[in-house]
């Protein structure tokens, strides 16, 4: 009964056939193309990675490939970019913590909200269900840009209707400012989340849920005991999507988190450094690598779920 949820990526029956196609296509040219593309796709990252460990004067004067002639490595760049306290050093540790504080709730809330909504849209029968679903689905392509200015004024000025204050301004200061970043990310994540989770949930066998209802289970119980265990892979794939999106986001952070070490994430700091200290390569390379390493680790350990999400139609911009 669980197999209906997991959609196999490849049908094994086609393997034998494609193997034969492969034989005809695997000429010397095909291998050459594969190698060239693979090199083009890895060399730039490798160059950055290697450079981040080279001493400052070397990074600035010689190319990273000269490392192989004169190997010298150091951790100084990482020390200074992470823990240096002068404002020019990067202070990346502070921004790293901000990235974590922003990302964790910004993943948890949308996953929960989308799960509840997707359950209702898949398994409850009520009037207007299809229209609500299509509405949420269509919101997927509303560009964030459409929402930024009004949402920012919603936070900073509240809501006024005909001169009456309907909702006061949030006036968030200090660490409380993270709340508006969480809020924004949660809103923007919902269309994709509901769409993805609905795709998976509506595939569950209806007899299962009917049987539970006949036994007198409440929707709370059905959701918790039956649906949730079955859609865990889907939650994982939406979760990892949202994690990568929030961690790597620049636009939402610039507008709702500001640019100071108090609340801005690493991407904002890196963009600042690229602008004002664009030639301080010892800090840029190390800083960029710090910001890359965490999503890369998450990504590699959960690649299976990520691919499944992609194939189910998940892409966000």
């Amino acid at each position: 009964m669980t197999t209906t949820v997991a959609q196999p990526i490849a049908s094994s029956g086609a393997h034998a056939a494609t193997a034969r196609v492969r034989k005809r296509l695997t000429t010397r040219w095909a291998s050459l193309i594969a190698i060239v593309i693979a090199l083009l796709w890895t060399t730039p990252t490798f160059g950055l990675f290697l450079s981040s460990f080279r001493p400052e004067d070397q990074i600035k004067q010689t190319g990273w490939w000269s490392f192989f002639a004169d190997p010298q490595l150091t951790l100084d760049n990482y020390q200074s970019v992470l823990f240096g306290t002068s404002s020019s050093s990067g202070q990346m540790a502070s921004f790293l913590i901000n990235s974590l504080v922003i990302t964790i709730p910004s993943v948890l809330f949308p996953v929960a909200l989308a799960t509840f909504a997707a359950y209702a849209l898949s398994w409850l029968d009520f009037r207007g269900r299809d229209w609500i679903y299509i509405g949420i689905f269509a919101l997927q392509v509303v560009p964030l840009q459409m929402a930024l200015v009004p949402l920012l004024s919603f936070f900073s000025q509240g809501v006024e209707l005909f001169g009456m204050t309907v909702l006061p301004a949030w006036d968030l200061e200090g660490p409380a400012r993270f709340i508006q970043v969480w809020f924004a990310h949660t809103c923007f994540a919902l269309p994709l989340g509901v769409f993805l989770l609905h795709n998976f949930m509506s595939e569950l066998p209806g007899s299962l849920i009917e049987a539970a209802r006949v036994d007198g289970a409440t929707h709370g119980t059905i959701l918790r005991k039956i649906v949730l265990p079955l859609v865990m892979p889907a939650l994982a794939s939406f979760g990892i999507f949202q994690f990568l999106w929030v961690w790597n986001d620049l636009l939402v952070a610039l507008i709702f988190a500001g640019g100071t070490p108090d609340s801005a994430p690493m991407t904002v700091r890196l963009a600042q450094m690229a602008g004002t200290r664009g030639n301080e390569w010892q800090r840029l390379t190390a800083g960029a690598f710090v910001s890359i390493v965490i999503p890369l680790a998450v990504f590699l350990s959960m690649q299976r779920y990520f691919v499944r999400g992609l194939l189910a139609g998940g892409i966000k911009g």
């Binding site: 490849a10 086609a14 730039p44 948890l108 909200l113 992609l310």
Partner: protein
Amino acid sequence: MDLNFDFAAEQPKLVQLLIGVVAFLAFVGLMLLLLDRAPMRQRARLHAFILLAPALILLGIGLVVPGIRTTILSFMSGDSSSFVGLDNYAWMFTQPEALTVLRNTLIWVLLVPLLVTAIGLVYAVVVDNTRFESLAKSLVFLPMAISFVGAGIIWRFVYAYRPEEADQIGLLNQIVVLFGGTPQQWLLDPPINTFFLVIVMVWIQAGFATVVLSAAIKGIPSEIVEAARLDGATPIQMFFRVTIPAIRPAVIVVLVTQSIATLKLFDIVRTMTGGQFDTSVIANEMYNQAFRYGETGKGAALAVFLFVLVIPIVVYQVRTLRQRREA
């Protein structure tokens, strides 16, 4: 170098994180409690309301109402005080600086989906069922995990420029010098600099195309491949006459998603050139106008135009969705 990083100063942030997580648990608990308590006999409407209300409220506050307000703002002056009719749109389609932005966006949206699809398709075909397939796909896929900002820095390093007499530190200029050329400042000269930015986006997104198209290729029914093979199709014929027609839906998915992602592109331009040297695109210009120059009206008009550009794609998607439901 002063390394006295003050960890104690970071504590309030972690407290805030804790508050966030506790709020999350409380929310989930409350929802489940409400669902358990709501009388089961009643029609599904009450339960549906409980389950959908939080998401719909947030969508309303975060997307629907702001979308409408932005549309209204696009007909207002820069400080949103007076109605200016279509002035902001007239600006967008007549002023040289705005036209450059539109031209660049057009270049992006034409090139990125095509290049991403072409490279992804070719790569998926050449590595298909080889011994290194999963490793090969992972290598191209990895940039998907890297932020656009990170990728921007990686590629700025590739494009880095040093005067002719000095050692080059950027890979591209080093290669140019190796072949006897003179080093270039790749990101300074319009319109060619936009192409160097496009490469970064293609580099990030090609893995997406590879994975989606590779899955589609593996799903081609064996009978079709077999029949073509018996008819003596060459590898090239096989590619154009069998593979491509069979995976057409997946190709369209890649083209559509890439077009949307490219239209909204912001980070790469902002990190690599800041939109200078005539490289700005709609999303970047929208940010500049609305949040840096205080020209809310122009920013809003750009956002609305972005939305109008993606509407045909929504209509197309909703139509396929309904067809699938009816089928």
